[in-house]
Symmetry: C2
Subunit: 289 residues, 2 copies
């Protein structure tokens, strides 16, 4: 499928792509680079890459495919840095959670001979880091690709073939539409979780009340434990869509609040609607898994 692939950023996703490429023998050589001390060597030991590099341009040089699997906050500097080392005609893809900003940087910073195909695998795990890498984490999940009119069609179909090799299902979306949809189903949820935790913990009785918190609170607060850096990067690169979803959410809460304060009849309707939506979604999600 590929002669030489370079994976930049060897965390959960980068490591898992490396493992999948190597197990499927889809690349003759997988080169890896990670800023973290010892990370690329550990990635090599678990079989996620063939060769660990200490110098970024060396990893990228000669690769026909470069996979950027770093946090979105590192992406701009990374694109600048690889721009001079990258082989003409190479394809670059990324796995960041927001796309419009990343695609814009890539099209601005990479040489015209290089094709960029934005990507976002809709998968994850509680654990992070290359040690948690698992070539099966993509299987059955949606993997968004966001080519633009500037992306060459061959590059897009090669990345689509890579996604299929990973066992994921390709979904093509314009970058802005991706960001808007993901802001609702992925970014709004983590902000709702963070606001919940900060609201209840601000109370002077939190020490006591926290001991009354049970499974409902556990589920609703889980996302609040995620990486603050990753969350901030997402907010910085997708602020318009996120702000608009937060406004929707606040309006929905405000209307629930009025119904509860007024013992109004439409409360049950809201609860029934949410229950039915959730049950339908859950059924399709389980079918997908």
């Amino acid at each position: 499928m590929f002669h030489r692939v370079a994976i930049i950023g060897l965390g959960l996703i980068g490591g898992s792509i490396g493992l999948a490429l190597r197990k499927a023998k889809a690349a003759q050589e997988v080169a890896g680079y990670d800023l973290g001390r010892g990370v690329s060597e550990r990635a090599r030991r678990i079989g996620a890459i063939d060769q660990a590099y200490d110098v970024l341009p060396d990893a990228v040089r000669g690769a026909e495919l470069v996979v950027l699997a770093t946090p979105v906050g590192a992406m701009r500097a990374l694109l600048q840095e690889i721009a001079t080392a990258i082989t003409p005609g190479a394809i670059v893809t990324d796995v960041a959670s927001t796309k419009e900003q990343v695609v814009q940087w890539a099209e601005e910073l990479l040489p015209a001979t290089v094709s960029f195909v934005g990507g976002h695998p809709m998968t994850g795990k509680e654990r992070s880091g290359v040690e948690a890498a698992d070539e099966k984490i993509f299987q059955g999940y949606v993997y968004c690709l966001t080519p633009t009119e500037r992306t060459c069609a061959t590059a897009t179909s090669k990345i689509a073939a890579l996604v299929e090799m990973l066992g994921a299902r390709v979904r093509f979306l314009a970058p802005a539409e991706h960001d808007r949809q993901v802001a609702g189903v992925s970014h709004l949820p983590f902000l709702a979780s963070i606001a919940l935790v900060n609201s209840v913990a601000a109370s002077p009785t939190w020490g006591e009340a926290g001991q009354l918190a049970a499974n409902g609170f556990r589920d609703m607060s889980r996302l609040a434990a995620g990486s603050p850096t990753m969350y901030r990067d997402i907010c910085l690169t997708n602020s318009d869509a996120i702000v608009s979803w937060l406004d929707e959410y606040i309006a929905t809460l405000q209307s629930l609040r009025e119904s509860i304060a007024g013992d109004r009849h439409d409360l049950s309707e809201s609860f029934v609607k949410a229950q039915q939506t959730r049950l339908r979604w859950q059924a399709s999600y389980e079918r997908m898994e």
Copy 2:
């Protein structure tokens, strides 16, 4: 421990209390009643009660302990109905999620010879109904008791002993304080989940976006699938505390929104604070389990 116990309402909690009483041989006879067709007979078959009753006063008559394990919405009518049949000197306890209103009804409707001890086990399961009953679901969890100055001390200690027999940890709280704390850690979370589901599903692109939703959305929407009737009953009997927590939550979200819209520095601080609070809470919760 008890000669005759009557359990009214044989769902997950009522059934589990029955199983625990019978397995620990803590009652000579466990009588059971449920409005649902065939429910008390099924409860008898799985060993949650000794004797199934079709007529509520018959179940209650002669019992020294009556456990009310129905939804809070049924509680007022139930208290009225058992008031005439109940044996003088009996103890009544309940397991409803809100306490101030229930305690007020009980003290108003039950005869003066009867002691009411409000209770709320902080446990649960995804599945409901007597088939999901399990005597171990209380083990390690907090079980709130809300005696008032009108509750006789002997009744309170008998119910505390029952809670310990269930393997739970007694927490004494005034009814209003219970309702305020639980509104934050239990009622606000389900409303946050319902509002999230209704917000994202109101979008014309929900059909597509729902397929991008992954584990984060799954966790944050789980509570929205809960019983609309139970949620409505909780809101009706705890509206003041819930409205005040919703106001806090909306204010926190509004402030996050301003930080994101303005790319403000305090965003990271909010995320770090939420992460630390959640990690600390999780550690104490796991210790407790």
